[in-house]
Amino acid sequence: MNLQAVRSIYFFEMARAGRTLLQSLISPVISTSLYFVVFGAAIGSRIQEVEGVSYGAFIVPGLIMLMLLTQSVSNASFGIFFPKFTGTIYEVLSAPISYFEIVLGYVGAAASKSAILGLVILGTANFFVDLHIQHPFMMLLFLLLTAITFSLLGFIIGIWADSFEKLQLVPLLIITPLTFLGGSFYAIDMLPPFWQAVTLANPVVYLVSGFRWSFYGISDVSVVASLVMIGVFLAVSLAVISWIFRTGYRLRP
């Protein structure tokens, strides 16, 4: 194991984020605050409580998930797309490191960034609502697993994309709709029965539900189902990545 190399990639990527701290942290924090103002204050004043939790508090886990998903994907996809785009990837590909170590470095950095961001948003939310976390350990587990899984997905997108348009396409067309329809701002049983059934096909629902359970002990689907869903996601992402490296897809002609 070439730990030195993993460390180099990891800290190089983290340093890059450090230089763009403003975009990396401030903008998600601002947009989260806006969500609170709009959804929490404006709409929340009309919806009293959801399953015994104030609406403002109810949307916190969903909001964090929303940010976690989009930021993981964008951090990781950009992190690998950029060296591919500028050509500096040659150095990583010519170095004595395994695929696993490359992924560990890039995805590790992207996941760390978005996990930190998730915690920062949690801190921000604390200003707006009273937060109680019933299962802090499970909360962290969900946070980390989601960050890692979606960073892997972002890594795949970054390798697949051969233009900036494509890099934006998947997040815009798939990730964002799925997260908005993933129960971030509502409980599933607030929907008519037909849409409830449709919603259950959305994997993000399971993530949000499990994450919300770790806060308030309420969930749309069982916690086990949530964990299984993350596990499946993780396994699929890893399988795709190992295929990418085995075949050299988009990396080694």
């Binding site: 990639i9 890059r16 500028t86 500096t88 150095e91 170095a95 004595p96």
Partner: protein
């Protein structure tokens, strides 16, 4: 450029005589590459690079130089054949193989917003070496980049960026250095400095493989020269041998009185007239003539005298590597 600071580690003595033929540091056998487009960029390449030599790879645009280097360094997957680097297979034992190699790519690429220092330091870590700021300082000084170490790469000129790429390749103290057209876009003075660095590296035991379009560079720098064309190695030769053997020579005679045509008595020689019959040119292949070329030339001159042709002056010209190269490539097309 400072000359007393070696930028490669532990100087190993170089075997000066190729007679002993030590094991090659890179052995390429039956290497072929067909790109997904269906294009065959390399066709059954066999090549050995000797330890400690400077090997120049010459070839026209699209000959397959970069493809060959990319396969050895792990950037491109080969379609067939194998490469071993110091005995390590470049695919199955890639860690050991790649750890020995430093690569300076043809394309200028850089992390625009990184500083020189950070990017060179990153390269060393990437190759699994513990940080060694003294070494990086030495490399940057040798490449006249020390003053620029805090600059972002985006603020550097093209020639400086090229040197940063060299510094990155040297950061992990490689035993083998690939330079893919290192002097493209580098000014004359800088080019000289760069070759100084390359010589220093060679003297400390580093094997160097370079590609260039400046044939005089290969002529000046290389121990051996390989010519690649259309994905095939068409020739590999010691530079000195190559220069001696392959260059055709020209004997030019300036005549006292112009000739209308070559006299029939001399028809068995490949003679041509030039400059309105004032100059008689004899072209011969030095490699075919071998040691006997003096004999045949004196015979020719005797016959010319006998034919009653008088000349004021004569000179011979040996073709440069460039001529050899151009001839070789033209022949194959």
């Amino acid at each position: 450029m400072s000359h007393e600071t070696p930028i490669a580690p532990e100087p190993t003595p170089r075997t000066e005589t190729p007679a002993a033929r030590p094991s090659p540091v890179i052995a390429i056998s039956g290497l072929s590459k067909r790109y997904d487009s269906g294009f065959s960029a390399l066709k059954q390449i066999d090549l050995e690079i000797q330890r400690g030599e400077i090997f120049a790879l010459l070839g026209p645009n699209g000959a397959g130089k970069t493809t060959l280097i990319s396969i050895i360094c792990g950037l491109v997957n080969a379609t067939g054949g194998s490469v071993t680097v110091d005995g390590h297979d470049s695919v199955t034992d890639y860690r050991a193989a790649r750890a020995k190699i430093g690569l300076v790519p043809q394309e200028l690429t850089s992390d625009a917003f990184e500083t020189v220092w950070n990017t060179v330091r990153f390269s060393r870590g990437l190759f699994g070496k513990a940080p060694n700021d003294t070494h990086i300082e030495r490399v940057l000084k040798a490449l006249s980049l020390w003053d620029k170490r805090k600059n972002k790469l985006i603020t550097l000129s093209g020639g400086m960026k090229r040197r940063v790429l060299i510094a990155k390749a040297l950061a992990h103290e490689p035993e083998i250095l690939f330079l893919d057209e290192p002097t493209a876009g580098v000014d004359v003075e800088l080019r000289r400095d760069m070759w100084e660095v390359v010589r220093e590296l060679r003297n400390s035991g580093v094997t160097i493989i370079l590609t260039t379009h400046y044939i005089e560079e290969a002529e000046e720098m290389a121990d051996r020269i390989g010519v690649i064309n259309g994905g095939e190695i068409v020739l590999v030769r010691e530079k000195a041998t190559l220069m001696r053997q392959l260059g055709s020579k020209q004997l030019t005679l300036h005549l006292q009185t112009p000739l209308a045509s070559v006299p029939p008595a001399l028809a068995h020689y490949p003679l041509t007239l030039a400059e309105n019959g004032n100059v008689l040119v004899y072209t011969y292949d030095a490699s075919e003539a071998g040691d006997s070329d003096h004999v045949s030339i004196s015979a020719l001159i005797n016959e010319i005298e006998a034919a009653g042709i008088r000349f004021k002056d004569l000179h011979t010209k040996q073709s440069s590597l460039e001529d050899i190269f151009v001839n070789l490539v033209r022949e194959r097309q």
